[in-house]
Amino acid sequence: MSETGTEPEPTDGPAGSVATGPVPKQSLVGRLLGRPRPGSAEIDEMLRMKTDEGSQELAPRSRTSPQELELESGRVLRLPEGVQLDRGDIDVETPEDESMILNLGPSHPSTHGVLRIMVEIDGETVLRSKPVVGYLHTGMEKTGEELMYHQGCTNVTRMDYLSPFFNELGFCLSVERLLDIEIPARAVWIRMLMCELNRISSHFLWLATNSADLGAINMLVYGWREREMVLAFFEKVTGLRMNHNYFRPGGVAADLPDGWRDDVLALCEAIPKRMDEYDDLLTGQPILQNRLVGVGPIDADTAISLGLTGPLLRSTGVAWDVRRDVPYLAYDKVDFDVIVGTNGDCWDRYAIRFNEIRESIRIIRQIADAMPVGDYRIQDKKITPPPRSRIDESMEALIHHFKLYTEGFRVPPGDAYVPVESPRGESGCYIVSDGTAKPYRVHMRSASLTNLQAMAPLARGGLLADTIAIVSTIDPVLGDVDR
């Protein structure tokens, strides 16, 4: 289904078409072959019917509205005061027969999942591009309306599968805001610890795939290896490498295991040393620099008006980090720097993610020292299920356990949205409650989907090979885009 712009599929054969009688609009060759004439409305229709997406795809210029053509340029770019937009300057006018619409994906290693990008190219130059998404859509927001609040984390953790803790955190913070409860200090710091480790594992995977996209295949192996070190710790704490369902409304599911501090400090020892090696391997390498420096620049005003967050926004020099600017958990009690770039190009985005790993290590060391003792979940019997041992001893514990797992807990009506800073940008869960035990509406503000809007303006006018570098540094996770 992915070859667009090629020949239409032949019909059953000439015999069938002869029997249907004369079709005056067809050419002689078309009649003989039993096909519609090239360029006719029938072919347009067949091309559209052949794929699943139809008008969601990038259509030829003749079938695209002027408004849509302006999507990547005039109406999106924010120009400084006093600079007039010269339309002839921005619009790369190419006769249609000199350009070609090419389909990248949905299955291509460098599209990070099932992202499909349609590009119109003239030689190697990208004239237009359009991401086509939705291949991983499984209706998780609808599913979220069917699940009780204590089941909700199981659902949302699968959205952005590379940073599951941030999905759970966004969901839990919103539910806790609706319940108006304060969770114990140890739960807050455990959540911070897991989130920062998750940021490292996510950025390592990005480092691996980004380097592989640009031809540094050896880094692919190293990046996955380092990520696995972090995931081994996750497995020890939560029982799972991914999709943990570890954060729950009211705290976390279990306390940290014995010896967690040694494991965390061992990670803090090992990772910076490896980062120095990767600095030698990648950062100074002229091939990598040629692929990244000056590629896909974006200015701050355009980035803000597009709603870009995370490393994409910070690469333009805007020091915006939800952890610092809208503090949640206990981020106001730890010391860390917000890494910013200057040019907003792929190189800045690379450098920001690279250094954010080091910054996270710095935060994790502080967390390991400051981890308070105490409860790891709120001692509210209407929200927290009783420990297993109490069920055998106490009638009330048994009742609470039964009621919680059959009916769930009720949440006062209202709506809440608490933003968190995920590795990809601002993430968060907009929850509407109608006072029952199931959320009325669960909407995940997905950083990946919003950041993907930068694809078209960034890729415009660049080389096709740069498109791969741009997708890679936007770093979308398709589970988060499609949900």
């Binding site: 915006w320 209202g414 809007q453």
Partner: protein, 180 residues
Amino acid sequence: MSDQSAPEPTAPETEALIPPPELLHGCPLVDSRGAKVVHCNREDYLELCRALEADGHSMPIGLTGVDYLTHPGRDLPAGIRPERFEVVVELQDMAHHRRLRVRCQVPASDPRLPSLFDLWPGTEYHERETYDMFGVVFDGHPDLTRILMPEDWEGHPLRKDYDTGHVPVQFKEAPRGATI
């Protein structure tokens, strides 16, 4: 309470108990669990958003919809007509670190809203998603097509009258029509 033409003797007392909502560009501004929320009717939506953009709310954080079909009795300030759909826009003022949520009522009989694309191009995908999931049409959107569902999909899945349905599972020697 807002009806000023027929004042009753008890009216001043009730007004003293419930203070009239603060107004922002003529629309009621309320506090919802620490977040500033401004409510509006459909006809004020574009005006309000223009004014907010001029105020410095430069970043569109998100835009989504809610279908209040089965939860009609929600809390709304006076002067806001409850409708079936609500479009929720989250905005961020980068310079002043202010955050604001706009909740706009959209009637079910004619679910249309002006697009915010010209104010914030970052609402493009969110409006497409809201159209896809709720069937709210955004006038003036440059490319209003489905984004997550296939183009030929019928219905809008996140509407409350759109059933999740069942997948019939035929177990070995199970009676016909058994479902889970």
